[in-house]
Each structure stands twice: as structure tokens, then as C-alpha cells.
């Protein structure tokens, strides 16, 4: 047989990498599908939770990093509590989201990552969430200006949205925490 220099064997290095990163014993899965049976978000996913685990075992990195599933997992932990092998698939999804963002692949969803970005920017700036500012940031990123406009007006009428941010006194500590987090990402 002539070697083409390409390997078609499953990549176990990805499995190992993900197990380390997520802390989850992904190789234990025997596909009982209890996770998918209880998953409230499976209707919106391109891969079911049990398929995510299988794709990790097979080293299908690219398909996973580009999937919508990892972004629409609600982290409700139903799968984690019911898995007979103690695998928390939402933690696997968190690790995959982190990798997808790092590797600059075409993300399987743009709204959820834009929300997380606006949310964390608000914490970094004020130490707490400033809803009005966070929502504005999210709208600017996603151009979804009219979405939930009516609801926004209701919230303002009910006094549920504050116009001014609350800022903690030691914001510098929060900034340092974010710097440390960034340094950890870089060193991996």
C-alpha cells in the first residue's frame, strides 16, 4: 500500500485534550442516550448530546467546533445528573466553545457568543452587570435592533431597567482577575 501521508484513523489526541480541558471522562460513554432523552434543548441542536460525546471520541474536532449544539446547550446539567458514567456534557460543550473561540473557526451560532462577550465586558467595566449598557452592546454587535423592542419598553415602564450602572469600588481587582484569565488562556 502506498502511503499518502494522511492518517484516517480516529484522532485520540483530541479526545485526550478534551478530557483534560473539560475534566470529563468522555471515553467512558457507552451511548445509552439518557443525556439526549432528558435534554431540553435537543430540538435546537445539530448534534444530540450523545453524538457530541461520540464525535469527541472519534476526534471529529472540526465538526464539533463549528456546530450549533455547543452554543445552544443551556447548561441545565440534566445530562450530568443522569449520566451513568458521570460525564457532564455541558462541561464538554464549555470546553468546545472555548476552543472554537480560540481557533477562530466559523462559529455555529453568532448570537450566543455576542451575548457572552457583552455580558463579560459589563462585568469587566463595572464589576456588576449594567443591563441597559450590556443590551446596547449586544444590539450593536448583532444588529438585532428591533428584536424585543416591545419588551424593552415594558421593562422601562416597570422600572426593571436602570439607566445608570452600579460600579463596585474595587473594579481594579476584577480587571486583574480578567488579566489572569487571559494569561492562562495564552499559556495553554
Amino acid at each position: 500500500m502506498v502511503s499518502t501521508g494522511k492518517s484516517i484513523a480516529p484522532s485520540f489526541s483530541f479526545l485526550k485534550q478534551l478530557e483534560d480541558k473539560s475534566g470529563q471522562p468522555v471515553s467512558r460513554c457507552y451511548q445509552c442516550k439518557k443525556c439526549t432523552g432528558g435534554c431540553p434543548m435537543s430540538f435546537a441542536m445539530d448534534f444530540n448530546p450523545n453524538q457530541v460525546v461520540r464525535l469527541v471520541q472519534l476526534g471529529q474536532q472540526e465538526r464539533l467546533l463549528k456546530s450549533r449544539t455547543i452554543w445552544v446547550c443551556a447548561c441545565c446539567k440534566t445530562c450530568a445528573d443522569r449520566c451513568p458514567n458521570g460525564i457532564d456534557i455541558s462541561a464538554v460543550n464549555d470546553a468546545l466553545k472555548d476552543m472554537a473561540a480560540e481557533q477562530n473557526v466559523a462559529l455555529g451560532d453568532t448570537m450566543v457568543p455576542a451575548f457572552h462577550e457583552s455580558f463579560l465586558a459589563s462585568i469587566q467595566r463595572h464589576g456588576r452587570i449594567y443591563e441597559a449598557g450590556m443590551l446596547l452592546g449586544f444590539k450593536l454587535k448583532t444588529k438585532a435592533y428591533t428584536q424585543d423592542m416591545g419588551l424593552g419598553i415594558e421593562f422601562v415602564k416597570k422600572g426593571k431597567l436602570k439607566f445608570l450602572p452600579e460600579k463596585i469600588s474595587q473594579v481594579k481587582e476584577i480587571k486583574q482577575i480578567f488579566e489572569k484569565a487571559k494569561a492562562k488562556e495564552g499559556s495553554r
Binding site: 440534566t78 472555548d98 450566543v112 463579560l120 462585568i123 464589576g127 482577575i177 484569565a181
Partner: protein, 295 residues
């Protein structure tokens, strides 16, 4: 009994009625509160979706601060409770990187987390025998005739090993028992620990709409006239998305915080101020059952 109170961001904005009713009810029960000084956001879903480090470090700063105030931390928000409890568990069990994280706290804040305090959810505190008995003793207006389904959602009970205070996290009972103490009609139903979609309300409203519809349909199918929750995300999703989820006028199901129901029953605080914050007005239902205070 004294606790360090951690309201969290929601309770200072979209869930102000939960904040006010919690404080007023706890005061009436003789439980002293001291707000955590200079508390920061727990990071919620966005932190753990983005960075393992942030997911633990942001709540940990609050725990280090809380230790200076000596008492256990009391949290009404189910999401904040879940994240603070998870960070506490991570440190207590020596999770990966926890020692390094504590050294980072030493460097940033000049103090480390020692593990001398616990994190408690308000429902867990209300469910204590002593406090439940106190609530029963203070009952001024039992919630007779109010058909309610207890809605626990995700964050109060999962992951069970880390955060749950229930005997069986798949069949939680604390809210059920509290409803019994209040004299309300506790309705059994199929969806008490199903997910509402949480923080997707802003980024993926269609998904939250689908889940809201399922939950409200299940509650109505069981014969409930109201839903009670202990989570600002659950309350906001069910209260705000029902309008779009369909159903005609008069079919909307009010969604209460557990502290509002306790407050109504024991006559604590200014219930009118809480109830007017709801998008689905609960007053007609309460009035029809004669459950509103005369004032």
C-alpha cells in the same frame, strides 16, 4: 440568626421585587441580614461558557469578601447560588488549579478563601424546621384556594452532588412543603425541574419561547392558576415570554417568587410594590381569592 446577604445583579434590576420581598420576609422572620460589601457579579452563564478560570475566580472574590464579614452567605438568586456554591465546592475539594487560584486571590485581594463559611439558598433556609414553624406561626392570611405549581428549574438542584439541598434532586420537595405551610394548594405536575432556557432569553428568544410554552401548558394541564419559583431567570422568562407564547386574554398564568407568597401569607412588607413589577398582573387572581391585604 444572621447572614451575609448576596443579592446579585438581577435582584438590583429586573428582579427588584424578589430583592424587596426577600428582605422584608426575612426581617419579619427575625433573620438579620448584612449585605456583602463591594460584591461583584458571579459571572453567570457567560463566565463558565468562556473561561474556566473566570467561572471560579469571579464567585471566589465574593467568598473571600464574605469571610471578612464572618457569617454564612444567603443568596436568593438560584443562578448566583449555583455559581457561588460551585466555586466553594471547587475550593473545598481541592479542584484542579484551586490552590493556584487562592494564591492569585492573595495577590489580588490580600486574602485567601479559608473555607470557614457556607453558601445557603433562601429556600433552604425557609425549609429548616425552625423557620418553617415560625412561618406557620405568623400566618395571617393563609393562601387558601391558590392552586400553584412549584417550579424548581435547573440551578437550585443541579448538579445534585454540588448544589442540591434536596433529598432527591430529581423529585425536589422543599417548595412543595413550603406551599403546604402557607396553606396554598400545591399542585403536582410533570415539569418541576425542566429548563426554561435561562440566559438565552436575550440571545435566543425563540428557544425560550418554545420552552416557556411547554412549561405553562404543563402547569395549566395540571390545573394550576399560578407558578412559583425561586429563580430570577425562570421568573423573567415565564413572566415575559408568555405573551408571545400564545393563549388568549385571561389565560396568562402569573409567576410568583416564593418570597412574595410567604410575604402575602404572613403579612410582611409592602406586597403591592412587588406585585406591580410583574408583567402578568397577579392582582386579579389574588383578589378573586380574597388573598390581598385590605390596605
Amino acid at each position: 440568626m444572621k447572614y451575609t446577604y448576596y443579592p446579585g445583579c438581577s435582584l438590583h434590576s429586573t428582579a427588584e421585587e424578589y430583592n424587596a420581598s426577600s428582605k422584608q420576609v426575612l426581617e419579619k422572620l427575625g433573620i438579620q441580614l448584612e449585605e456583602l460589601k463591594d460584591w461583584n457579579c458571579c459571572g453567570a452563564t457567560s463566565a463558565h461558557s468562556t473561561s474556566d478560570y473566570l467561572a471560579h475566580a469571579l464567585p471566589l472574590r465574593n467568598l473571600v469578601l464574605a469571610e471578612k464579614q464572618d457569617n454564612d452567605v444567603l443568596v436568593p438568586c438560584a443562578a448566583c447560588y449555583n455559581l457561588l456554591k460551585t466555586a466553594e465546592h471547587h475550593m473545598r475539594c481541592g479542584g484542579e488549579g484551586s490552590e493556584e487560584l487562592n494564591l492569585d486571590m492573595q495577590e489580588i485581594m490580600g486574602a485567601q478563601y479559608q473555607g470557614n463559611i457556607a453558601v445557603r439558598h433562601v429556600v433552604d433556609v425557609f425549609a429548616q424546621e425552625e423557620i418553617s414553624a415560625k412561618i406557620a406561626g405568623l400566618l395571617a392570611k393563609p393562601l387558601a384556594g391558590l392552586k400553584v405549581v412549584p417550579y424548581y428549574g435547573c440551578l437550585l438542584t443541579r448538579p445534585a452532588k454540588v448544589v442540591s439541598f434536596e433529598d432527591n434532586a430529581e423529585q425536589p420537595q422543599t417548595l412543595d412543603r413550603l406551599l403546604g405551610v402557607l396553606g396554598a394548594e400545591n399542585i403536582r405536575w410533570s415539569h418541576k425541574t425542566e429548563c426554561c432556557g435561562g440566559s438565552f432569553s436575550i440571545s435566543q428568544p425563540d428557544l425560550v419561547l418554545t420552552l416557556t410554552k411547554k412549561l405553562v401548558d404543563a402547569a395549566q394541564y395540571a390545573g394550576a392558576d399560578a407558578i412559583v419559583t425561586a429563580c430570577p431567570l425562570c421568573q423573567a422568562n415565564l413572566d415575559t415570554r408568555q405573551h408571545e407564547a400564545g393563549g388568549g386574554p385571561g389565560t396568562k398564568v402569573p409567576v410568583f417568587y416564593i418570597t412574595e407568597l410567604i410575604g402575602l401569607a404572613i403579612g410582611a412588607g409592602r406586597s403591592g410594590d412587588w406585585l406591580k413589577k410583574h408583567l402578568i398582573d397577579p392582582v386579579p387572581l389574588l383578589r378573586s381569592l380574597n388573598l390581598l391585604a385590605a390596605s
